[in-house]
Symmetry: C2
């Protein structure tokens, strides 16, 4: 799957991923109205609304991008019906040939991590049958529990040729509270980064590892250090756009081969129609606004990479 991700990034000349993180307030009125007419103002209605909203965006942008990253929390907030919408979104994106990175940030003790891994990137055995629960291609993993919390994800992915992105340095303002703490002069995120590189060595694709890392766009100096520390690790970079990360800062997350990083934007793309810049599209053409925002993001980042 890492080889496919690299191939799609290269073919589409777009090291970008669209974060499908729908809030009900993002969904245009006409979609919400139709969903509520059909299912009422219920959790099912909310699930239907965000699924139809996603579908419109995916249809409009899938030829431009290699991957999507649905944030499961945005679906989980609507309980089971929200997770039905998550599943529909994952399945539909895969049908469209997109690589799906499930942003689930799971992580637990060994046997429990294994259950998460099975549910999202593995196979579940029921009697004599085998099923995939959610069936993403990659998932994000929280490293706080250490190797035996991460290893089960790697073990399961080795069977299915899928991959993970481990949180190393997150994009949020208070990420430094624990992640930047220095241990013998070395910040925790570097220690985690070294582990990620180490875990990754045992599970290599053609040029990059199936074990990737999450490093926020909002901390470019740290991104620079981590890039060198984890040369064979694909870096998933959240925080571009709405959270403040800029294209010129992102060049440090890439290797000299022009690869090694994939930049996420969520609100900046899926909510483009609510921004002044794309307001002329209006609500009904919200997906076209998202398409233009993808093109602008791609050009912004590719432009910065050319100038590197």
């Amino acid at each position: 799957m890492i080889n496919q991700l690299v191939k799609e990034i290269t073919n589409k000349k777009a090291p970008i991923v669209v974060g499908l993180d729908p809030m009900l307030s993002y969904v245009p009125e006409f979609i919400r109205k139709k969903a509520f007419e059909e299912y009422g103002e219920t959790l099912e209605g909310a699930g239907e609304a965000i699924w139809q909203y996603n579908k419109g965006i995916v249809d409009a942008v899938s030829d431009l991008i290699p991957a999507v990253k649905p944030q499961i929390a945005m679906y989980e907030q609507f309980g089971v019906p929200g997770l039905v919408a998550y599943q529909k979104t994952v399945d539909y994106c895969k049908e469209k040939g997109l690589v799906v990175i499930g942003d689930i940030k799971r992580g637990d003790i060994g046997s429990t991590s294994k259950a998460y891994a099975i549910g999202h990137v593995g196979k579940t055995v029921v009697g004599s049958k085998t099923y995939s629960g959610f069936n993403e291609d990659f998932v994000t993993v929280n490293p706080y529990l250490g190797s035996d919390g991460v290893q089960p994800f790697i073990d399961v992915c080795k069977e299915t040729k899928k991959g993970i992105f481990v949180l190393v340095k997150t994009s949020n303002p208070s990420s430094g509270e624990f992640q930047d703490q220095k241990i013998d002069g070395i910040p925790l995120y570097e220690l985690v980064g070294k582990k990620v590189a180490q875990w990754g060595e045992s599970f290599m694709g053609d040029s990059y590892s199936y074990v990737g890392a999450v490093v926020g766009a909002t901390y470019p100096e740290m991104g620079k250090v981590l890039r060198k520390l984890m040369p064979k690790t694909y870096i998933l970079v959240p925080g571009y756009g709405a959270q403040g990360g800029k294209a010129e800062d992102l060049v440090h997350y890439f290797n000299k081969d022009g690869l090694g990083a994939i930049v996420n934007s969520s609100r900046g793309i899926i909510c483009a129609y609510q921004q002044e810049k794309y307001a002329s599209y209006g609500e009904t053409a919200y997906a076209d606004a998202s398409r233009q925002a993808v093109i602008d993001m791609r050009d912004d980042i590719m432009g910065a990479l050319v100038g590197k």
Copy 2:
């Protein structure tokens, strides 16, 4: 909710919580068979089997215990139908008057943590209506992202009078890999513990905070230190029994009032019938075996506390 938890622990003289972490291999043949006859060897069949299995255990032990802790990963491994079983389990335990601690170990950047909090311990607004997604009483939270990843849970809980348990020192063998790293001579888990105490000060129940901590039974010396560092924090203690934690080690997790900790056992209780000690119950009386295992666990821990 923390006041109710303390009240139930006191009334039932049982500072214990039963971990509802079902694997299909734990479920007695007669339950599996019936579920598969009804739903086939499908994810729905698996969900039905674990739900019926849970129901049997809950019916047999609910008068003895204050709380249950379903581990969501064990349900998530079966995709959406597994999460339907999780929801049924949560709802049923609440009907039975049990406090439900959702072991979800979520944690993300601010707006995303808020979505998780809303889905599990808050209220979701859909049009003019308000719903609860999963509706647990407490959830476990991963602190790796720092304050702005934890605070949204606290904010949501303040509205619903629910609570959280933040991972401080987990019970697994490699938890020390990052959690024990020393920062200016102080291990990371102590730094996190101090933060938990600080977060908790702003959200107090009658005698304990709504912000609790997870500290594994497998590290009693660290438990002793953390107990002193977080005097008003309820400690959720996994790792008793199957993972190796012993009752005499657990006394250090309690305060002098005999309160302040609640000890979890999962496999040791729900799989009791598969242990040699309880084998005479047989598969059909699996729930009675679980009841006896609860009584034995309670007596073991209360005995150690009396001798403290």
